[in-house]
Symmetry: C2
Subunit: 233 residues, 2 copies
C-alpha cells in the first residue's frame, strides 16, 4: 500500500539489530511509559551498547516515528476487511476509528508523548511536519480509500477534502482517547459513536445546495491548514 520505506540499514546484520532495538523499545514503552524508558535500559535489554542504539535511531523521539509507522501498518491491515464488508461512509468510519483505538490501546500509558510534540513545529515527532510526512501520507491514504469506496453521494469539492478532514478528525479522537481514563475507554467509544453520527449528519447537511457558500468557505479554511503543513515540510 505504500512504498515509503527504504531500507535504513546496509547489511542484514544491521537490519536485524535495528529490529531488535525497536522491538525491545516498544516492549519497554508499553510497559513503563516514555519517561521511565531510558535509552540505556533499551540498549541494555537489547544487549547492545548505548551508542549502537543511537546509530539506528537518531534520537529517542525517532523511535516513536517508528512506532507511528508500525501501528499504522497494523491498523491498515485490520481495516481492509472493513472496506470489503461495509459500503456506507458512516459504517466504514465507525469501524475504522474503533479499530484505530483498539490498535493503540496497549500503548495508552505512553501515548501522551505520542502527541506531546504534535504542536511543536521543530520536533521530528510533529505529525504535521517533515519527518512524519511519509507516515502521514499513508495515514491519509487510508481515509482516501475509506471515502472513495463508499457509496455515499457527495459534492465534488467536499469529496476532495473529506479524506484529509477525516484524518484531522481521527487525530482529534486520538487526542480524546489519550486523555480518557474511563474503564475500557468507554468514553472514547461513546464519543466515536456520537461524533460519527454527527459527522454523517453534517455531511448530509453540507451536501445541500443551499449550503454551498458556507461549504466553500469551510473548505477554503481546510485548504489553508493543508498549505501550512506544506510550508513547513
Amino acid at each position: 500500500m505504500s512504498e515509503n520505506q527504504k531500507k535504513q540499514t546496509k547489511t542484514p546484520k544491521g537490519e536485524q539489530t535495528r529490529t531488535l532495538i525497536l522491538n525491545t523499545a516498544l516492549d519497554l514503552l508499553a510497559e513503563r511509559g516514555y519517561e521511565k524508558t531510558t535509552m540505556r535500559a533499551i540498549a541494555e535489554k537489547a544487549g547492545v551498547s548505548l551508542g549502537n542504539a543511537y546509530h539506528y535511531f537518531k534520537s529517542k523521539e525517532h523511535l516513536i516515528q517508528a512506532f507511528y509507522h508500525r501501528t499504522h501498518e497494523e491498523h491498515l491491515v485490520a481495516s481492509l476487511p472493513v472496506f470489503e464488508r461495509e459500503k456506507s461512509l458512516k459504517a466504514r468510519l465507525l469501524e475504522v476509528l474503533r479499530l484505530k483505538i483498539a490498535t493503540l490501546e496497549p500503548y495508552h500509558e505512553f501515548a501522551g508523548v505520542l502527541f506531546k510534540t504534535a504542536a511543536d513545529p521543530h520536533s521530528p515527532l510533529n505529525p504535521f511536519g517533515h519527518d512524519a510526512a511519509p507516515v502521514r501520507r499513508d495515514s491519509i491514504e487510508l481515509f482516501e480509500t475509506l471515502v472513495s469506496g463508499a457509496q455515499t453521494r457527495l459534492p465534488t469539492d467536499l469529496k476532495a477534502e473529506l479524506p484529509y478532514l477525516l484524518w484531522l478528525y481521527h487525530m482529534g479522537i486520538i487526542l480524546f482517547w489519550i486523555h480518557d481514563s474511563s474503564p475500557k475507554r468507554a468514553r472514547t467509544y461513546r464519543v466515536i459513536d456520537r461524533t460519527v453520527d454527527l459527522i454523517d449528519r453534517l455531511i448530509t447537511l453540507a451536501s445541500n445546495p443551499l449550503m454551498r457558500p458556507l461549504r466553500k468557505r469551510s473548505l477554503q479554511f481546510v485548504a489553508e491548514i493543508r498549505d501550512l503543513e506544506l510550508a513547513e515540510g
Copy 2:
C-alpha cells in the same frame, strides 16, 4: 478579574528573586527559544544559583506556566477596551483574537513548546490538566465576558457552551499561529478573519429552530470534552 494567585513566596526578598528569575527566563526564552535556554543560563544571568532557580520553579516547564499566566493578563488588559467599544459578537471575537496573537508574537520562536505537552495528560504544561486549571479558568472567563456582553441573540443552550467553544477555537488558532512562518504572520491573521466570519455564520445557522436536534447533539459532544478535563483534574 481573578483571585487565583496566592503568593508563592514567604518574604519580600523571595518575591523579588522569583520575579527576577521569571523575567530573566522570559527574556532568554523570547531571545533563544526553549531548548537553547538552559536553566543554568537563566540562573547565571539572573545572578542566582541553579538550585535557587529550582527553589522558585519546580521545573523548567513550570516556568511556562508562569508564562501562560503573564501573557493572559496582558491579553486581558488589552481586550477590555474592545468590550467597551464593540458590541457585536463577531467584532469582539475578531479583535480579541488579533490581540491574542499580537500578545504572543514576541515569543513565537519558542511558542512551539507552549503547546508541546498540550496533549500529554501527565505534563504540568498541559493546558487541559490540573496544574493549568487556574489559568484556564481565567482564560475561559474572558470568553464568557465576550459572549455575555454581546448583543447577538442566541439559543440558551448554545449560549451556555459558547465561551468554552470559543476558547477551544482560540486554542486552535494559536496552534495554527505556532506553525505559521509567513511574513508578519499574514496567514494567521487571514485565517482569523475567515474563521471568525465562518463562526458567525455557523452561529446564525445553529440558532435556526430547524437545527435544534443537530445543535443539541453537537453541544452534547462539547460537554463530553469538558467532562474529560474534569476527570483528569
